[in-house]
């Protein structure tokens, strides 16, 4: 699993990367009440808005950590957005992206680096 400074995680299997928000982000956000996800087939570019996650209080953007084509969106989140809080780095995944360039993932932080980064916040 790799991580961004915007608190997204990426887990690569073959050429498909699963993307979600980290436990830290979910905790900071509080109770998630709505998640807006892109439709499969949508092409995304690293750094662009990918999804929106809403807590009771506010809406926050989730950015694409990598470029590629959305191959699946987690429909479970439309019925149970709370899954993002319960299991942010597992069942609470947002989308799967068929990646264009594996090197983009290598450039992201590993868990140790992400945790060190959290220590600076």
């Amino acid at each position: 699993m790799r991580f961004t400074k915007d608190h997204e995680w990426v887990d690569l299997a073959g050429d498909v990367a699963t993307v979600g928000i980290t436990a830290y982000a979910a905790e900071q956000l509080g109770d998630v009440v709505f998640v807006e996800l892109p439709a499969p087939g949508k092409r995304v570019t690293a750094g662009e808005a990918l999804a929106v996650v809403e807590s009771v209080k506010a809406a926050s953007d989730v950015y694409a950590p990598i470029s590629g084509e959305v191959s699946a969106a987690n429909s479970e989140l439309s019925d149970n957005p709370q899954t993002v809080n319960d299991e942010p780095e597992a069942a609470g995944w947002f989308v799967k992206i068929k990646i264009a360039d594996a090197a983009q993932i290598e450039a992201l932080m590993d868990r140790a680096a992400y945790e060190a980064f959290l220590g600076t916040l």
Binding site: G30, E54, V56, A59
Partner: protein, 407 residues
């Protein structure tokens, strides 16, 4: 992910999560240390560092208040006393004299307050726009006649206090009490909790207040609040505030509740938030607050903007605050456009979010009166997408005030 624009500065933690102890500019309350000890997430609000939530989170704090009792620190608000300088000793005469000083600023019947009664009223400008909404009360005690208890909003208190002082001139003096703690205890179990801590509290009727003793010290306790639930607001001297707060939290029926749930609770209760759902351009009639315009005062037309308000009460109204149920999609937040069925933008959301009690998004906003009828289908535009919405009655969640406590 990134936190909402305005709350986040790229390389820094979002402003929402600023630690007030590292920000000297933020004022504290007598309970700030308690919030930190409870794990409260502190945010800047109206110049104060206040807890937006505790570890339980907004959703649980909200639902706990509806089911049991929530304790809120609202010490950032502006309590004050207006005290007549020279009194006759005749309670009716002295009350009338002090009421006469503030009535030119507000549209409520202050003269007509009975001893111990509290009233919601509005400070207005000459154009009939709202300068603030506030509470004004007449003390019950004979020796306190000629005084008014006033509580204004946090963000507007400097201007409000200046206006009240100016209106009083030399005949009365405004004594600020915003160095004290103001604690709200709200929820169906609030009365049972408070009676054990402050005997006599449960005997108060809705919108009355009294000086009551807590362990030998006098507090001002009102039966009022901002959640739609039964509840109380307690003005406490700063030195004993933490002891009172801890006594309340020591009851298993009470949980601490932050400003996040205070906002979602008042939204469900259909109560406007000044600065969002009303401002200096909004009249009481547009805001759906006609009940706060006194009949006597309207007849006399002796308050600022009385002419506009009379015109609007006669039907010349261009917009009205309504409640909206969002029937699909994301919560519609403040600023979201409201469109009619033809897609024409007809107004905008002034407060909106997710209702924990209804498990659905709700909002309030302003639209032209012909569209304000209950059941009218509209849409709200969130991130360029139109989502179906319907005009519904407010409150979204029924009020449960205790108007006359059982003897």
């Amino acid at each position: 992910m990134r936190w909402p624009a305005g709350l986040s500065a790229s390389a820094h933690p979002p402003a929402e999560f600023l630690d007030p102890l590292t920000d000297d500019a933020l004022k504290s309350t007598p309970l700030t240390a308690s919030h930190r000890a409870l794990g409260g997430r502190m945010v800047a609000f109206a110049g104060y560092g206040m807890p937006v939530q505790y570890p339980a989170g907004i959703l649980k704090e909200h639902l706990w208040t509806r089911a049991h009792a929530g304790a809120f620190d609202v010490s950032h608000m502006g309590p004050a006393f207006l005290e007549l300088a020279e009194r006759t000793g005749d309670g009716e005469v002295d009350h009338r004299a002090v009421a006469t000083l503030v009535e030119p600023l507000v549209c409520g019947d202050i003269r007509g307050l009975k001893p111990g009664q509290l009233r919601y009223t509005l400070l207005l400008n000459v154009a009939g726009g709202m300068v603030d909404d506030l509470m004004i009360g007449r003390p019950a005690a004979p020796r306190r006649q000629g005084e008014l208890y006033i509580v204004v909003n946090a963000g507007t208190k400097e201007g409000d206090f200046a206006a009240l002082s100016a209106a009083a001139g030399r005949r009365a003096r405004l004594v600020r009490a915003d160095d004290r703690a103001l604690i709200a205890l709200q929820g169906p179990e609030a009365a049972g909790v408070l009676e054990a801590v402050i005997p006599g509290a449960a005997a108060l009727s809705f919108m009355t207040f009294a000086a009551l003793a807590f362990e030998g010290d006098d507090l001002i306790v009102s039966r009022s609040g901002y959640t739609g639930e039964d509840g109380f607001e307690i003005l406490s001297p700063a030195p004993i505030a933490e002891r009172l707060w801890n006594r309340l939290l020591g009851d298993a029926r009470v949980a601490p509740v932050g400003l996040g749930a205070r906002d979602s609770l008042r939204l469900e209760a259909g109560l406007p938030l000044y600065g969002h759902d009303a401002d200096a351009t909004t009249s009481p009639i547009e805001a759906g607050l006609a009940f706060a315009v006194s009949k006597r005062r309207s007849k006399a037309a002796d308050f600022p903007g009385a002419e506009r308000i009379a015109r609007e009460q006669g039907g010349a109204l261009s917009r009205l605050r309504v409640g909206l149920r969002i029937l699909e999609g994301a919560p519609a937040r403040e600023g979201a456009p409201i469109a009619d069925q033809a897609g024409v933008v007809v107004g905008k959301v002034t407060s909106g979010g997710f209702s924990p009690s209804l498990n659905a998004p709700i909002a309030m906003g302003y639209i032209p009166p012909p569209l304000a009828e209950i059941g009218t289908r509209l849409s709200v535009i969130v991130r360029d997408k139109a989502q179906a919405a319907e005009v519904v009655p407010m409150p979204f969640v029924p009020h449960r005030y205790v108007r006359k406590p059982a003897a």
